[in-house]
Subunit: 405 residues, 2 copies
């Protein structure tokens, strides 16, 4: 029996409320330019510190030591879905990142406009990085292709030269075990789609027809007179939070990517204003209506990726300032953590373990008096993989029975 | 997808240098005779302590809690090869421990001279522990058997009554799924070799012929008038560090066993003088030429196995004294740890977690100010299995891409 099975076998429901507050990219490393502190250490956070004094803390490896997760695996882990087993394909992530709601048999692909010469050879894989407006106009033209061999075709423009194509089969599952058509280098023609199994062969032939028809429609639109497809992927079969944990879940997230991941797990998407205060107020307004709230703060990651230490500190301080809105409407279990670290010094996601705080009637209290990376090294939860967090939250909310007699 | 696959899928190369300094058997337990300190706590180590202040630390379980590793699994783990999946057979470890370089289809066996009476029954399994010189002479006699059924036979004397026989098949793989011929008790005859599959049956018949011919050659050499074979094992199929991590690796190790393990992973064996200073100077001299350096210090383990606390302290202090040679030629990532603990009080390898320090531009810094077992309990890396160390070192040297989007 493995962990997810134990959860399945011991789960029960009750009236408790769980809030998981994700400060995206919150983990960091100490910064010599700022008194050798991390942003969390540097920030003035009286409410977080007081909360830490009444909570249990620890650190989590998003995947395993050394592995830097993208947003997909980072969040799947937080929701208790083993990110090494449940893989969200690139096309799907791109589609949900554009706010597109996928249906069960949908196959999504990342596409980009490209320049092709009269010999059918790619001369610029990014079509001279045409602006978004041009991509929108070209997507409109391609949208005249509504259906091929019974498969509905839906096109969504993205940023710059990028767009997403969704192949929607209404009645039966279609395969997506198909190569990228992008040769990845200039000077070569697009690669025809080939399916690696019979049901993928069907979709591959649809894709090849789509490319042929689409190229004909935009052939005069130099430099964007063709397109390439990558990351062809089916909507993953991830059990919903309802099926998995008997939880009615809601997401309060501003950014499409995180709304998209939440919707893949069948969370309800609640209003998500642009301010942190606004996010927390949404929780306050809906707190009676759901069992589980995923609140996503993007600013910490953005600041980390920009290498902007002061902005990361500022975002943390805004979280701290707004925190009383949650604390005055205290859920039974409150967890604060990140999906991964985004150290300012690296301007990117990283592998470093994230700090974690769990507060609840049965969480216990350790000797950690501040909520930051190094303080949490000594926490009562130790170091563990993020995929075990949901089990802890369910346990703290008394939603898990004893395992074995 | 499992951990090693993620590494495979995200690995890339760059110009960074990684040094892994292994103090063999460094972990210990506190010793009541020496102010209740471990050797690392007791030793005067100003350079290590200063380095700890600028590093991130933690502790590693070589395998899993409670498991005491031999040198093979201990080192495989450090190099990121799951020691529970990649098994180096005893015969192979013995052969590489004698400095023998195995080829792909080689099968190696541990052998020992033994005394047999006129009825073919073993009367002394160790032939009265004959001295090494006698073993060398007897191996010379056996070496007249050059080949049996197309399989080349190579004999290497070891210490005391021990030697190694290598069965070399040049053209095809031969099986090694064969029982020990050693009955493990006196009063019984040697057990004939039996192969458990067709290709092992072939080698078993070669082994039986080798025993017959060999026994005839030394039948007058009482007390060493026969020999027994154990740990019959093929050269393991372990991907090289180059294939696995795109790393050009070099080993600076004095002892044949560790040189042997390194050569199984296709590391280049660099000059390894007898002094710790000399080992570090080799790194300095070659630092431009390789991506990864494995530096092996044996003295700490030897002292632990001898139960010689003061000698362990002395060896640690010699490492500390020579450390500036590495620090003045600082690699991008420096890790210091052990392959396992060898507590002086136990005079043997043990299961205790080893201390670990990682220093690099992106390692982060925790609150640990000394490099010893108990200080590292509070480190920013927590406790984890050694097999994840390589992932951390690769990540710290920016050789791993993000996993998922």
């Amino acid at each position: 029996m493995h962990y997810e099975q134990i959860i399945q076998n011991t789960i029960k429901t009750n009236n408790s409320t769980i809030v998981l507050l994700v400060l995206d990219g919150i983990g960091d490393i100490r910064n010599p330019q700022f008194k050798n502190k991390t942003a969390l250490e540097y920030a003035h956070t009286p409410h977080l510190d007081n909360l830490a004094k009444e909570s249990v803390t620890g650190r989590m490896y998003p995947i395993l030591p050394g592995i830097t997760p993208g947003s997909g695996p980072g969040h799947l882990g937080l929701f208790g879905y083993d990110p090494m087993c449940h893989i969200i394909g690139r096309g799907v992530l791109e589609a949900v990142g554009l706010g597109f709601e996928l249906k069960p048999y949908d196959v999504a692909t990342r596409c980009n406009f490209t320049t092709m010469n009269e010999k059918g050879v790619i001369t610029d894989r990014r079509a001279g990085r045409i602006p978004t407006e041009m991509t929108v106009a070209l997507c409109n033209i391609l949208s005249s292709i509504k259906e091929i061999d019974g498969v509905e075709i839906i096109i969504k423009p993205g940023k710059g030269h990028r767009f997403v194509t969704i192949f929607r089969s209404k009645e039966k599952e279609i395969g997506s075990n198909i190569n990228d058509t992008d040769p990845l280098v200039e000077g070569k023609p697009p690669i025809p789609a080939t399916g690696k199994d019979p049901s993928s062969q069907f979709l591959a032939s649809v894709i090849n027809k789509f490319m042929k028809e689409g190229y004909a429609l935009i052939k005069e639109k130099h430099p964007a007179n063709a397109f390439l497809m990558r990351g062809i992927a089916s909507k993953p079969k991830i059990p919903s939070m309802r099926d998995h944990y008997l939880l009615e879940s809601a997401a309060i997230a501003t950014y499409p990517m995180y709304r998209g991941i939440a919707s893949l797990l069948d969370m309800t998407l609640l209003p998500a204003p642009d301010s942190i205060k606004g996010l927390f107020e949404t929780y306050r307004d809906y707190k009676q209506k759901y069992d589980f709230f995923f609140i996503h703060v993007k600013g910490t990651d953005q600041a980390g990726e920009d290498g902007d230490f002061e902005s990361k500190v500022g975002c943390i301080e805004r979280v701290d300032e707004a925190l009383p809105i949650i604390l005055e409407n205290k859920p039974d279990v409150l967890a604060i953590t990140g999906d991964h670290a985004s150290p300012c010094a690296m301007r990117s996601h990283s592998w470093h373990p994230v700090p974690l705080l769990i507060n609840g009637r049965f969480s216990g209290v350790d000797d950690v008096k501040k909520f930051h990376e190094n303080a949490c090294n000594n926490g009562g939860l130790g170091f563990f993989e993020s995929k075990y967090l949901m089990g802890l939250l369910l346990a703290n909310s008394k939603r898990l029975d004893k395992f074995g007699a």
